[in-house]
Each structure stands twice: as structure tokens, then as C-alpha cells.
């Protein structure tokens, strides 16, 4: 037998569970992972440069294409930062409409994540069920915004349109249907022992590690830190709404899974509260500011929102012209994915899809 048993394995970008867009260069010894090097940048489109070559308004539909799973969060985040640069307050109606759509987007994104993660770890049937449930939410978003994938609903100083008159009825019907499907597929997944074996105790992220790597969102909350931008740095009207932040202390893949599942329920509560607040306002109230200042202020702004993957935000430096001077996108996945290599080191090859799936990566906003 030869002395050297280490070998190199290039996992991705063609590997089916790598979502097609990034790769890990692994050093393995049999089934054990010794080291890894994540290689990203396959989807680098130069967003930061793109946005500085366009006026502020022209950047919003582009930001819709930043992440293909939750486009609305990103365009809203961009407008939120631009409103900081213009120093304007949005009308109440726009706030509640934004919260409603953002939370619907969160549910849709978590459903897609569940479908992708289950397939990654071999539960192939589970591709269909969450996608089915997501369809209901996407239909709801279509009724509000008019589009199914890139909504282009955010505007500087408000939203593009009023909510449809029958939103309450539609939302009730959608959520009833969604709840039924939701519990059906959760039974299917959580009762399966294989799913628990493959996720419980796998990829444990300690609290110190999670903080030191700057992770946010469900990854951080599954490690026992109660941090949510919606609570800690409230934007729009989140400080007036009642909701819990689901946290777990285990820090393994199963904890991250549970946190997201509980977040779906919280998001549904938030949708109803936002819609109630919206309906308290008069029909004639504005949903968008009529006039914007002619030119933005000079200076810089960083404002963040809680996207479904964690803290996302835009840092904008303005020189007073109609185009931003410098834009830096804070991507939640960019920080979260850094923990992947430390988590899989010393583990088995088959754990990679489980850990990777539980981090919930979207390469669109990872590479920007």
C-alpha cells in the first residue's frame, strides 16, 4: 500500500448539489475531509459597478435580479438606502404594503430553501411539496405586484401600486391552503428518521464561531444568539408589530432547519398584522411620495434590512449627483458561507450537502 492516501476532489460547479454556480476544492482522505477551499465568483456580474453607472431609479429593477429567490427584499433594501440618501420618510401605507410583501417573500424563499435542501440530502419527494406551497404565496405576490419573479414593486418613497381591494379575502384563502400543505410536508419530513440522522449533530456551529465569522439570520439564531435586524434596528414599522424571534441553541443543521420553519409561521402572523394596519388607513392616503428632492444629499448611508438569509443592506456613497458614487452590497450569504469550510473540516463527504443546504445559499447575492 502506498503511504499517501490524500487526494484532491473538485466538487462543483457541475455537481448537482452545488446549485451550479460555485465550487469547493477538497482535500480528502477516504471519506474524511481534511481541507477545503471555496471558489466563488462564477456569477460575479459587477453589481457595484453597474449601479454606479446608472441613476438611482434605474438601479431598482437591476437589484430585483440580484438574488433569484427573493428579489423583492433586495430592491426594497436598495430603495431603503436611497431614501436615506434623499433623507425622506415614506408614507404609512407604503410601510405596511412593504412589510406585507417582504414577509410573503420570506415565506416563498424559505419554501424554496426547504425544497432545495431536502433534495440535497436525498429526500427527493420533498422537492414537490414545498414548491407547491410556494406557488400559493407566489400567486399572492403576483396579485399584489403583477409579477411572479422579479416584482419591481419598490419605488423611492413608497411602492408601485396600492394593494388590490380583495387582498384580505385572498390572503385568508392562501394562508389556509398554505397551512394545510405546510403541516402535510412537515409531517413527511420530520417523521423520517433518515432526515434526522443526516441533520442532527451535523455541522455544529458554536456561538463564538457564529459571532466571530459575522453570520446573520437563521444561521446565527440557530446558534443561540437572538439577533434580528427587525427587532434590533427596526425599519419601516416593525417596531409596532408583535412577533417572536425563533432561536435554537444546538447550532446544528437541524436547528437551522427548525428556525426557518418557525420563521414561516412568524412571517404569516406579521403579514396579517401589517394588512390590518394597512386597512386602518383611508383608501385615499398616498402609497408613494408625489415629489422627490431634485438632487440627493452628499454623504454616505448604510441601511440594512432582514432578508430571509440574514442581514442585507446597501452602503451608498453619494457625491450629490444623480448617480451613486460607490455602492457596496452587504450580502448575508457572503458572511454565512465563510463558516462552511470550518464546519465540514474533519467530517464526512456526505455531510457537505446537508451543511451547505442548511446555510441556505443564494449564489446571486453571494457573488453580486
Amino acid at each position: 500500500m502506498s503511504e499517501k492516501t490524500e487526494m484532491n476532489l473538485f466538487m462543483g460547479p457541475q455537481h448537482p448539489s452545488m446549485h451550479g454556480l460555485w465550487a469547493i476544492r477538497l482535500t480528502i482522505d477516504g471519506e474524511t475531509i481534511i481541507d477545503g477551499d471555496a471558489q466563488i465568483g462564477y456569477l460575479h456580474r459587477g453589481y457595484e459597478k453597474l449601479l454606479t453607472n446608472r441613476s438611482y431609479e434605474q438601479g431598482i429593477p437591476i437589484c430585483d435580479r440580484l438574488c433569484y429567490v427573493e428579489s423583492h427584499s433586495w430592491s426594497t433594501s436598495y430603495t431603503h438606502s436611497i431614501e436615506g440618501i434623499y433623507n425622506i420618510q415614506i408614507p404609512d401605507k407604503a410601510k405596511w404594503a412593504r412589510i406585507l410583501t417582504l414577509e410573503l417573500q420570506r415565506i416563498a424563499s424559505h419554501c424554496l430553501w426547504l425544497a432545495a435542501m431536502s433534495v440535497d440530502i436525498g429526500a427527493l419527494t420533498m422537492l414537490i411539496y414545498p414548491m407547491n406551497a410556494r406557488e400559493i404565496i407566489i400567486n399572492m405576490l403576483e396579485a399584489i405586484t403583477g409579477a411572479r419573479m422579479t416584482y419591481n414593486y419598490a419605488r423611492i418613497g413608497g411602492v408601485a401600486a396600492d394593494l388590490p381591494f380583495d387582498t384580505v379575502k385572498k390572503l385568508e384563502r392562501s394562508f389556509n391552503e398554505f397551512q394545510r400543505l405546510h403541516f402535510e410536508f412537515l409531517d413527511l419530513l420530520e417523521e423520517a428518521q433518515i432526515f434526522r440522522i443526516r441533520t442532527q449533530g451535523i455541522g455544529v456551529l458554536t456561538k463564538e464561531q457564529a459571532l466571530n465569522y459575522g453570520t446573520t439570520g437563521p444561521v446565527l439564531r440557530a446558534s443561540g444568539v437572538e439577533f434580528d435586524v427587525r427587532k434590533n434596528d427596526p425599519y419601516f414599522g416593525y417596531d409596532e408589530l408583535k412577533f417572536n424571534i425563533p432561536t435554537r441553541t444546538e447550532g446544528d443543521c437541524y436547528a437551522r432547519y427548525r428556525v426557518r420553519i418557525e420563521e414561516i409561521q412568524e412571517a404569516m402572523k406579521l403579514c396579517w398584522q401589517a394588512l390590518d394596519k394597512y386597512n386602518e388607513l383611508n383608501a385615499s392616503d398616498p402609497f408613494k411620495l408625489d415629489k422627490l428632492p431634485r438632487r440627493p444629499n452628499e454623504g454616505e448611508v448604510y441601511r440594512r434590512i432582514e432578508t430571509s438569509r440574514g442581514e442585507g443592506g446597501f452602503f451608498i456613497q453619494s457625491d450629490g449627483s444623480t448617480q451613486p458614487y460607490r455602492v457596496r452590497i452587504k450580502s448575508p450569504v457572503f458572511n454565512n458561507l465563510q463558516v462552511l469550510i470550518p464546519l465540514i473540516k474533519g467530517g464526512k463527504l456526505a455531510d457537505i450537502p446537508a451543511v451547505m443546504g442548511s446555510i441556505d445559499l443564494c449564489v446571486g447575492d453571494l457573488d453580486r
Partner: protein, 157 residues
Amino acid sequence: MSYNAEQIINSLKSEFNEKILEATSDDFYRVIIKVPSELILEIAGYIQHELGFSTPNMCSGTDKKEFMEVFWHIGTVDSPILIVLKSELNRDNPVVESLTPLWKGFDWHERETYDLLGINFNNHPDLRRLLMPDNWEGHPLREDYVYKKPKYRKPED
């Protein structure tokens, strides 16, 4: 234990007095601290150990034509405040100390800043290009960057 913006500025000013060039806070809970580039590691260490700012948020830079600006956002889970450490670097040879020994989360951020702006980070464990291909020439977010079409190999006929 959480501080407000004023306490942070006072604490830093009393510790480092005139070494801090400028300290301001804005309406979005950011405390912006401009420091000379040699003192980055020392002041960042104070922010981490004494003020308890535990999470790296982001790091990047801007090409300001006369100089290169580099900034780190450092957050905490107790309060909405972000401390922004800023430093001005020589544009021809931008070198600054890396903060990865304190916060591992800055690893990829600093690699990206090196990749896109050409800022070198001392003592970074693994300073390679991150988003652009390894053999790429130039740093695309610099103001004087001129895009050259990559040379594709022609199919042999």
C-alpha cells in the same frame, strides 16, 4: 452592556486622544471613526475587547481619486450601533493591516477588497483574488481601470 454613540466616541477619544482624526455619528446608528492606517489594529482591538463589538459586518473601500479609502463596519448583537473604522491610504501603494486576526469574518471581505480595489492587507492569512479569475489584470473598481476584452483562444481551423 451596551453603549450609545456618544459614550463610544468619548471612550475612544479618552483612550487614544489626538490619534483619532475624526469621530462622528449619523442618523442611522453609525459611529464613524477616522484613524491613521498604522493604528487600525490597535484601535480595532480596543473596540473588540473593551467595547464588546463582536461581529464583523463588512469591509470594503472606495477609490476617491486622490486617495484610497478603506472602511470596516463592526457590529454588536446588543444594540443597533455599527462602528465604522475608516482610514485613508496612499493610492499608489495602498497597504493596511488586516483585521482577520481579530474577526475571522473579514477574511473574504478583505480578499474581495484586494481583488476589486487592489488594497493590500498585511498579515492576511490567504490574500488571493476572490471573485475575479486568478489571472485577471488590474482591479475593476478603481477609477482608472480600463476594461480590456479578455483574449479568447480562436478555434483551430
